[in-house]
Amino acid sequence: MTKLAETDQLAIEARALNKRYKDQDAVSDLDLSINRGSIYALLGPNGAGKTTTLKMLMGIIAPTSGQCSVLGQSSTRMDSSVYQKIGYVSENQKLPDWMTLEQLLRFLRPYYPNWDKDFLNKLLTEYDLPLDKKLKAMSRGMRMKTKFLISLIYYPDVLVLDEPFSGLDPVIREECIDGLLDWSQVGNRTALISSHDIEDVERLADSVGIIEAGKLELDEEVDSLKERVRRVSVVISENATLPPSLPSGWKNTRTNLRNIEFFDTHFDPDKSEQLIHAILPGVERVTFEPMSLREIYVALVKQNKKEIGGKYGSQIHN
């Protein structure tokens, strides 16, 4: 049970974080708490503010207002001792191209007390990276593996990955994930992965946050999210009419003849069916289907946006 005590501590925290570029809010009032030991997926379309958020967390850019911290250290005041415990991999990150991997490793090694030679050798073999090749001459996949390698081998407590898998072919993606999983086995390691592609991170993450237009729309554990959201199809007797008000947990209700479909966001295996029978008249058959993260994302975020101002817009907006 020592783990619980540790997970009480937050690895990453953001409070009322704002970043404003000229007249545009890149991130607005973002609150984020990531427990130690968690693998957190920050999902959202391109341009939603994921990268900006991560950069603020990493202390690369300063927030317009609000605070954020990693491992208890405010991001705006990070020093070497904190960066020794953090790994950061980003899609656009520049590498010192003129170096070979070997030179880069030799250069980096003195900075990290936790440098793990065995892990390095293991990863080098698994990733099949040439030590004597200039980074400049490496393919995109090799460069990404290099970025993973140089961010994993000192066993950082926190790993922040910005779109790490985008544009990678499946084999390389799997290799990267293997490295990531290896790293996460030992100790109580926290990862924050941003992605615009849910399936990249669906099984990796235990918690998920969805960011849209700079706002965090959802922040929950994956399992509980999957447990509580169901696609519900109800077949009712003919000429059924919907009652004027529906529970707020029912999203995106659609009717077609005798079929009613909606997303139940407060699914409870014991009560939901009874509730449906109580609310909807003449229920003949009810089916609950679990949904994938992508479907949940679409259901909870995308549909909301489309339907704002629509029939149940006000409810959905809650």
Partner: protein, 125 residues
């Protein structure tokens, strides 16, 4: 390679799927008592799932008595576990539903369906 078959879908929580797959493997005889069970690390790596999820599945299986941890031997399939009625129902529920729907689609009637079932059953035994 894992010692039990599993095909993860995207809709259900991964830990639940692992638990169910292991139980099914035990029921179908793919796993037998005393068989070593993969470590959390192996499980996580082979399925590409969060180590916490893997840990959760193993913990649940140990809790329910499907697996047991022996000092120095690691985790293995325990001898005493027998799926109870409710669990069996849960385990089969979905599959039976799919089976019935498929059988109907194929145009089998009840007797033919039973016969097919019987043949299969005997083959496994």
């Amino acid at each position: 390679m894992l010692t039990f078959s599993i095909q993860l879908n995207r809709t259900q929580p991964a830990s639940e799927q692992v638990v169910r797959a292991v139980k099914r493997a035990v029921v179908s005889g793919q796993l037998r008592s005393g068989d070593p069970f993969p470590s959390v690390r192996e499980l996580s790596r082979s399925l590409k799932i969060n180590p916490k999820t893997a840990h959760k599945s193993v913990a649940a299986l140990v809790d329910e008595g499907v697996l047991e941890t022996r000092p120095n031997l690691g985790t293995q399939v325990s001898s005493g576990w027998e799926a109870n009625q409710k669990e069996k129902a849960v385990l089969l529920n979905k599959d039976i539903q799919r089976l019935v729907v498929d059988a109907k689609l194929c145009g089998l009637d009840w007797k033919e369906f039973l016969k097919e079932l019987e043949t299969e059953w005997k083959e496994i035994e």
